[in-house]
Symmetry: C2
Subunit: 336 residues, 2 copies
């Protein structure tokens, strides 16, 4: 079985964005549009949105199940206030639930959280619990920068975040560290902000005792870990200079990397330096890069091809494609 740990519903029916647009327009007049104002979306509209996109690509690429979450760039936690974020998040998560109900063999849910700048992360715990306990979701996406590129929240290792981590541990679900769009003109979302956040989170983890406080807390750092594997020597050296434990003895018990790296040399490097137990197959399709690589004739984000091209043992291949996902997302085992 081949599990893709990183897919967003980037092709959702237009009615979802229509609700968001109305919500944002309402904010200008001081109105919080209620969830009941959502335009209806039919099952057929959901099927149409997936059949020629994620489902077609699953079949073409030979993957089975996508761990599926709302569109990351649309989370935009910086827009509006806590109520705005609560309602938008619920709308997005409910739609993911409908996808997973229509296609239980193909998708399993991971939720967006209703974060908001300056709002305590514990306020996201109820939506996480609803998604896991009532909708059958198996994890969440956690935005380390709800301000959208201004980085005004405390680091992920600050006690500010601990009450949410307590809920994650209680529910036994991991978080993917995933920022959203950037409203700071310095940071292109998919070309800089995403990768910077990955790198930033890793270094926060490296310099803290977070995983002494939460030995079973688990994070996936997406986009192949940002800059981290390329600079693995730098991180081993910094850990040593800072008198931190060896990365393999501490950090790598709790931190995992996906394979959203869109060329073979990058995946080769990832597999060369990061232990196989810490690598989880992901493609982020249909996502940041949608074209075909003229150098290979295949989609840039068809990351399975890069892994298939490497001389891995069958046991290692199984870990990357299935086993590690089942370890990091234990609730997956109730699904598939």
């Amino acid at each position: 079985m081949i599990i893709d740990c990183h897919g967003h519903y980037t092709t959702a029916p237009a009615a979802l964005q229509k609700f968001r647009d109305e919500q944002v327009a309402g904010l200008k007049g001081g109105v919080d549009i209620p969830l009941s104002a959502q335009p209806s979306i039919s099952d057929d509209q959901i099927r149409d949105s997936l059949e020629n996109a994620q489902l077609k690509l699953q079949r073409a690429r030979g993957t089975d199940l996508t761990i599926f979450s709302p569109r990351a760039s649309a989370m935009a936690h910086h827009i509006g206030n806590e109520t705005t974020s609560q309602r938008w998040t619920q709308a997005c998560n409910d739609l993911i639930h409908r996808v997973c109900t229509l296609y239980p063999e193909n998708f399993v849910g991971v939720c967006q959280l209703p974060q908001s700048p300056g709002v305590a992360p514990v306020n996201s715990a109820a939506e996480l619990e609803r998604c896991v306990e009532e909708l059958g979701f198996i994890g969440c996406n956690l935005n380390p920068d709800p301000s959208g590129g201004h980085w005004t929240s405390p680091p992920l290792t600050d006690r500010h975040w601990y009450p949410l981590y307590e809920k994650m541990v209680e529910l036994d679900v991991p978080a993917m560290v995933h920022v959203s769009s950037s409203c700071n003109p310095n940071f292109h979302a998919t070309g800089a902000h995403y990768l910077n956040a990955d790198t930033t989170a890793f270094m926060q983890f490296l310099t803290s005792d977070l995983f002494k406080d939460f030995p079973t807390l688990r994070f996936i750092i997406p986009h192949g870990g940002g800059a981290v594997p390329y600079h693995w020597g730098r991180y081993r050296g910094l850990a040593q200079d800072l008198k931190r434990p060896l990365l393999g003895d501490y950090l790598l018990k709790n931190v995992f990397f996906d394979t959203c790296v869109y060329h073979l040399p990058g995946i080769e490097l990832l597999l060369k330096v990061i232990p196989v137990d810490n690598i989880i197959f992901g493609s982020e399709m249909v996502g940041a890069v949608r074209g075909i690589d003229p150098e290979t004739g295949h989609y840039f984000d068809d990351t399975k091809r890069y892994i298939d091209a490497l001389p891995l043992s069958e046991a290692d291949r199984r870990k990357i494609f299935e086993g590690n996902a089942r370890k990091v997302f234990p609730r997956l085992n109730g699904h598939a």
Copy 2:
């Protein structure tokens, strides 16, 4: 000849930091300590600071000339006001000039700029001109985020920066894009902020027409280009999706990467994906990572060893170790 394009004076005599400490202390009382208040530093103190550090390592590693600039993390453009930054910058640059005068065979200068948040970059042009015309420097370090981790300046591709670029073009000197310390607790300086800035700058360049406006403007992106080479497929794909020119046809005429990547697999990747004409040898010694890698028994930042381990042609090796530096820093040719 082997030229290291990336060295900072991290071992400067303590009197330099004493001046800085007094400057910062003065700010609290609203006093701008004048440059004349600097404690004196003798030539012997300068020699002592280098003989057992950079000079010893040059000899041990077999490198000849270091392109040398003030300590990057100490630039701290966010401290104080424009006057603070002007004076601190002049003190740091003058000391680099003394190093280069004492050891003309071993060091050639690159200057810090007196940037300050909210201050027009053109205000750095006079110090750049002084350093190049009077002190014989061959380039500058440009901080894309003088706020120190809050990223409040416009992107490097904004016209905000153009008057400084005009001076760079007039003087025919490149800039290394190099942030300083971070006062945002999210960003560890050498483990996150530096690499994020590298990645950020590259994507800014990718999405703009800056090099149409300045066809001869040249930037070095340090630390092996941040996350960029590891995600080279992502960047090729983003350029294609955004209808930008092929990276080799546009960006790579003006943007170069150093080799400050502290393990062999990283350097292998860099050489595999980035054209050899765009790679300039650098080590950043004595810098971010000072220890010995227990896996190799050699210093993490002895990047020459990694390059030596690769099966490069002699012509390519010469480009990386000398030729590309001479192209990007044409004023080098007056020195060595």
